[in-house]
Amino acid sequence: MKARWIVLAVVLLFVLSCAAWAAERYETLIVGGGTWAQATSWNPLYANNANGTLGLVYETLFAYSPLTNEHKPWLAESGGWISDNVFEVKLRRNIYFSDGHALTAEDVVFTYELARDNNLTYTPIWRTLREVKAVDDYTVQFVFENPNYQEWQIEMYSRAILPKHIWKDVPGEDLMVITNDDPIGSGPYKKLLAGPDRNVWVRDDNWWGNAVFGQPKPKEIVDMIIYENNVALGMLMQRTLDLSNYFIPGVPAIKDLYGLTTWYDGPPYMISANVALLFLNAQRKPMDDAKFRRALAFAVNPEIIVERVFEHMVPVADPTGLFGGWTAYRDAKVAEECGFWYDPEIAKQMLDEAGYVDADGDGWRDMPDGSPMSFEIIVPSGWTDWMESIRIISEAFRAIGINANPAFPDAGVYNDRIQTGDFDMCINNYGSGISGSPYSYWNWVANHNINRTHVTEGNFGRYDNQELFDLIFKFNQLPPMSEESLAVASEIQKILLLEMPSIPFWLNGLWAQSTSQYWTNWPTENNPVGYPCTWANQWQFGGIEMLINLQPVQ
């Protein structure tokens, strides 16, 4: 008799807790793909902070939409250049940090002066910045000397505005060190907890933006740490993941079967997020020869990569490498006159003319002086899509008589080798992500900072061309979309195409697959209500809008 009651109580307890759990599930958004290690720091000044620190907790003056290429006022109500060298920001009223303090011009000034007085990752902005002053409580002026207009286009949506009343007491040497376990920001979410395999954020119901933008729907966001895409797919299938930002092979094949939503319903399924380029080491022969480099561009058919490796989830890149908002600067005439396309006959002809012929009859082309040549193309081991891609690229090179082989060093070795220039060719995309200005792209593919042991800011092939570097520098200092900036942009594109220090092949996607069991109204091509991205430091690309526009099923 007694035992039966106990069993009954246990069952009841079990059912109740399950029911409670099921109810919570409809208020929780589970995402994955943006976090690759356990979160340990919520310090916005530390670069490796928890995904969401910027965007969910701390906010920026502006948001940026890669879809429309527009800066959207966020903390700022408006902003613009009031003279050649002064950028004025008007802040919204009634913005509060989660501890109730108001966010004012003073906090903005403090955030920037912190980088002037200490060594922080954004300290270099003070090379051209002269002063940041609060004109009144809601007006801030950034006074420059020769402003880098293009870089500012990116800076505007990148900097977390810190609460002065909290950070003013942190000693300078601790600024990057403290973990800031209880982050106080102005954003729509607060940190709830962080485990070895997840970060959990809880909605701040008093967010100032509720009145301006609307309230984000998920009460909690669980950001899962998943290291393998097959695990992410399994979770999507079992509906334990609502939005996956992983590259998942097979999505086109099973999309309808499992009811997955992608941005486009058909190819290319995903929004483009960055360019994958083949870097050629210009410090090694014969890749110091522009004719040789350019011939290679004609040898590869990127369509095969798109079809076989990515199942049409990515598009082929434009020869200029420009996409998204950057295409505003694309010069169609230059692209047509100096571009490249798949035609191995042209490649062969160019190589023949330049003297790269098979001198010793072994089936492989040799250097003009008769010495044999062979190349190694590297990508990190385990990056399966890239591994398959360079197999295809090497095959294409071999088909025109160039002895190229794929190789897969471990990721650490790969990074070391591309940075020290110890490679022939490699695929990379570290710095080619979409941004508010093509300056970020050009300053990466043709970075001038190449005369040192570790090249880390791009231009891994160490292609040296002062004229190009000067043009990129000049471009940075020209107002966006000005006549002059377009002219300089054309020049840059022309040099990049004719000199071909790196070859843009395909556009990696913003991988996003979502399920509709618990949440609907996902942003898609026909319903662009946000940017389905949970990657770190990209929440301000429209991720918050997505959260606001989601609809709970129950």
Partner: protein
């Protein structure tokens, strides 16, 4: 008559060729080896070639189906099998050889300094979690070939052989026939060759089989983690690719299950040979 005499002289061989387990094991083993040797002749594709459309289940054109990208799984398996067998052969040989020498020397000098030292080393290596050690070693070697892989796998595989051979040597050393030889003043070398070594032969053979199995399993595990040879194909790599490309979730069981099944069969067949031979060399077991 001559035949009968032959079997009489080679009694063990007779029992070996009539033992069902041995027969089964040998047949399966040879079939798999034949697959590795002749398989490539039956496939018109290269293992990296796009042989057809992706997602195809086993069919007449693609015996083991195709991968997500349209590579032929049969081709990948037969080429992969070659490298896996080669690693097993190389690593198994190295590990057995090291284990034998260490065990034999140690057993021969039992109780003295070389024995103490070698056994210390053996016990130490035995305790180290081999895969963890292998992961550490592999992870920091930027390029790995089959030989490198065999060496690092063998480096952690030999200890149990050394220990087993040592005790076997010890027990043989104290057996009567050795003592008899010693009394009859036979040279030491002859004792080793004719008595100890001859009696060890069957044992060595079985040790080798176990080492072959063990090293194949470790190396496939490494390959599965992406720490195998950086070039070429192997069974572990085929399965790693299958997992990386979501084969199971996408319903392509043939891509994951078949390579593993063949590998498992290979190892099972060797175990059968081993158990069968055990019965052959230990007549007492035959009665069952």
């Amino acid at each position: 008559m001559a035949a009968k005499g032959f079997w009489k002289r080679h009694e063990n061989l007779y029992f070996a060729v009539t033992n069902k387990k041995v027969i089964f094991g040998v047949v399966v083993f040879l079939a798999i080896v034949a697959l590795a040797i002749f398989g490539p002749l039956f496939t018109p594709y290269g293992y990296e070639e796009f042989a057809g459309p992706g997602y195809r289940p086993p069919s007449k054109e693609h015996w083991f189906g195709t991968t997500i990208m349209g590579r032929d799984v049969f081709t990948q398996v037969v080429y992969g099998l070659r490298s896996t067998l080669l690693v097993g052969f190389l690593a198994g040989t190295i590990a057995s050889a090291v284990g034998l020498v260490v065990g034999f020397v140690s057993g021969f000098f039992s109780g003295r300094a070389p024995d103490e030292g070698l056994m210390m080393l053996t016990n130490m290596f035995m305790v180290l979690p081999s895969l963890a050690l292998l992961i550490i070693l592999s992870a920091y070697l930027p390029y790995r070939g089959i030989v490198t892989q065999s060496l690092i796998v063998a480096a952690t595989a030999w200890p149990w052989t050394a220990r087993a051979v040592r005790s076997q040597t010890l027990s043989l050393k104290s057996q009567e026939f050795v003592n008899l030889s010693r009394i009859s003043a036979a040279p030491v070398f002859r004792i080793i060759r004719e008595d100890i070594a001859a009696n060890m032969f069957s044992y060595v053979f079985m040790v080798y089989i176990l080492q072959f199995n063990g090293t194949i399993l470790s190396s496939v595990g490494l390959e599965f983690l992406g720490l195998g040879p950086t070039r070429g194909i192997s069974l572990g790599l085929v399965m790693q690719n299958a997992v990386n490309w979501n084969a199971l979730h996408l319903g392509m069981w043939w891509w994951t299950i078949i390579p593993g099944l063949i590998l498992t069969l290979l190892i099972v067949s060797l175990y059968f040979i081993n158990t069968g031979l055990d019965e052959v060399f230990n007549p007492r077991l035959r009665e069952l």
